[in-house]
């Protein structure tokens, strides 16, 4: 073979550098590399670290899809405070349901110095997104106890499930209620992506959902995202407030402090 040919071939070889990251069979291939089952690991960490604590302080971020730069800034800001026990993510980590979007966002959120958990958003359900979410984070309905407060995290994206799964899952809410009674827990917080009466919620059961939540012992408030606005609503005129955090592009997160006397919140701009 001519030297010239060899020279040309040598020009090509550097492209094999870092090749593995560049090799992908499809944007929706659901090829999950790196950490998986994050919610289970992190809820265990939260339960362990906050056991017996009176005061729980957490940050709530949501709708971070395709705002990687802003999410990085939020992570940096939350870390710099040094007084936050854990972070809740209200869903929509991905915009298109593309596999890599979940992995990019996970890698950014893994920069948090404290544990975090994520609920599923409607955008996370697109294409193979549901499968990727399940692999990276775990079940789409889950609960954990931080201090003496039960956090009930729900999948409310009914529009994306077409009756294939019960969304919202009333059986799960009842099971959480029983769990709280068994553990003698007096307070709880509910986290979801889309609030009742929003476009992806199963609004046929919105009032029933409100009723089930009222049955939960000591429900303090609900947290949600989805419409990218900052809002506080008494949705069912029953005194239970639904706090919505805007999307991360608006560079805001909510900071909640819950203790025996009640709770306080502030909107943090970064």
């Amino acid at each position: 073979m001519h030297t010239k040919t060899i020279n040309y071939l040598i020009c090509i070889l550097p492209l094999l550098w870092g090749g593995c990251d560049l090799l992908e069979s499809h944007p929706y291939d659901a090829h999950v590399t790196g950490e998986t089952d994050i919610n289970r690991k992190n809820t265990a960490l939260i339960e362990e670290r906050l056991a017996g604590k009176d005061t729980v302080r957490f940050a709530f971020i949501t709708d971070t899809q395709r705002w990687y730069d802003e999410t990085r800034l939020a992570v940096r800001h939350i870390n710099a405070r040094g007084d936050i026990d854990f972070v809740l993510h209200g869903g929509d980590q991905s915009d298109f349901g593309v596999t890599k979007e979940f992995l990019w966002m996970r890698d950014i959120l893994n920069g948090l110095e404290m544990p975090y958990v994520c609920v599923i958003g409607n955008h996370d359900c697109l294409g193979t997104g549901k499968d990727v979410f399940r692999s990276v984070y775990g079940d789409t309905n889950f609960g954990f106890t931080a201090g003496g407060v039960r956090f009930i995290c729900l999948n409310t994206n009914a529009l994306e499930y077409d009756y294939s799964e019960p969304i919202p899952d009333f059986g799960f809410i009842t099971a959480q209620q029983e769990r709280m009674q068994a553990d003698s827990l007096q307070r709880c917080v509910v986290l979801m992506h889309a609030a009742p009466e929003s476009d992806v919620f199963n609004n046929n059961v919105a009032a029933v959902f409100g009723h089930y939540l009222r049955e939960l012992p000591g429900l303090l408030f609900c947290l949600h995202g989805h419409t990218h606005a900052l809002s506080v609503t008494d949705l069912f005129a029953d005194g239970i407030l639904y706090y919505q955090c805007p999307n991360i592009k608006k560079r805001m997160y909510l900071l909640f402090t819950v203790n025996e006397e009640g709770y306080a919140y502030e909107v943090v701009e970064f």
């Binding site: 010239k4 870092g18 560049l22 090799l23 069979s25 944007p27 291939d29 090829h31 298109f96 294409g127």
Partner: protein, 234 residues
């Protein structure tokens, strides 16, 4: 859904026909000697017209015979894709390929099949020896569709109109690449008269819109590498 799929198919067929037309127009000179060579003494205008038509008919369908076979790995069109293609243009600088790819199951519920329509432009080819030539640049785009009922071309009716505003099924990719071609000496030919080894660096619409708005995403995040072999049969 059927209508949408039809329109993709129709686009594919139209592109193939355009390619075939270009090939038949440029690649087969001297067909006009038909009357003198094959039909001596036939003077009946009707038969003459019929024979000419038949010949044209055969020529057109012959030109649809794929000239190349293609094997390509990765590149967001499948772990492995195989396909057929057509070369055309004065220097055969245009290539159109149709590929079927396999996307493994990984963490999803099923293995998926994808279909790709690829258009390549190879502006230059340099001979470096009797056997080898180099294509220092190839560029083009491909449309990819993935089969599976979790994907849609346009949003199902359950969504408010324009809710998501994109298709999970159809992707458009752009690429640049390079290749080396080995001309197989006539005596050693078995399957192909030339084999090209190539690689391509590509990205797709969804990665581009993510990259444009986020400085923290690096080329490693949104660029994809693929490589393959192209066998020139005809």
């Amino acid at each position: 859904m059927r209508m949408r799929w039809w329109s993709f198919k129709r686009t594919a067929v139209c592109l193939a026909l355009v390619a075939a037309e270009a090939a038949s127009a440029e690649g087969l000179p001297g067909q006009d000697t038909l009357r003198a060579d094959t039909l001596p003494g036939r003077e009946t205008p009707f038969l003459y017209r019929y024979d000419r038509r038949l010949e044209r008919y055969r020529r057109r369908f012959n030109s649809l015979i794929p000239q190349t076979c293609l094997l390509q790995c990765y590149g967001d069109m499948g772990l492995v894709s195989v396909g057929v293609g057509w070369d055309y243009g004065r220097r055969e600088q245009w290539e159109t390929d149709v590929l079927l790819g396999i996307v493994p199951k990984y963490q999803s519920k099923s293995t998926k099949v994808s279909l790709t329509l690829k258009q390549t432009f190879v502006p230059w080819s340099f001979s470096v020896s009797e056997l080898f030539s180099i294509e220092p640049l190839s560029t083009g785009l491909y449309l990819n569709t993935v089969f599976g009922n979790q994907f849609w071309t346009s949003e199902p009716d359950r969504y408010p109109k324009g809710y998501y505003g994109f298709s999970t099924r159809m992707r458009i990719h752009v690429f640049v690449g390079q290749g080396v071609t080995l001309a197989v000496p006539p005596r050693k030919r078995f399957f192909a008269k030339a084999v090209t080894a190539f690689y391509e660096v590509s990205t797709c619409d969804l990665y581009l819109v993510s990259a444009f708005t986020n400085s923290s995403l690096t080329p490693k995040d949104y660029l994809r590498l693929s490589f393959g072999l192209r066998f020139k049969i005809l």
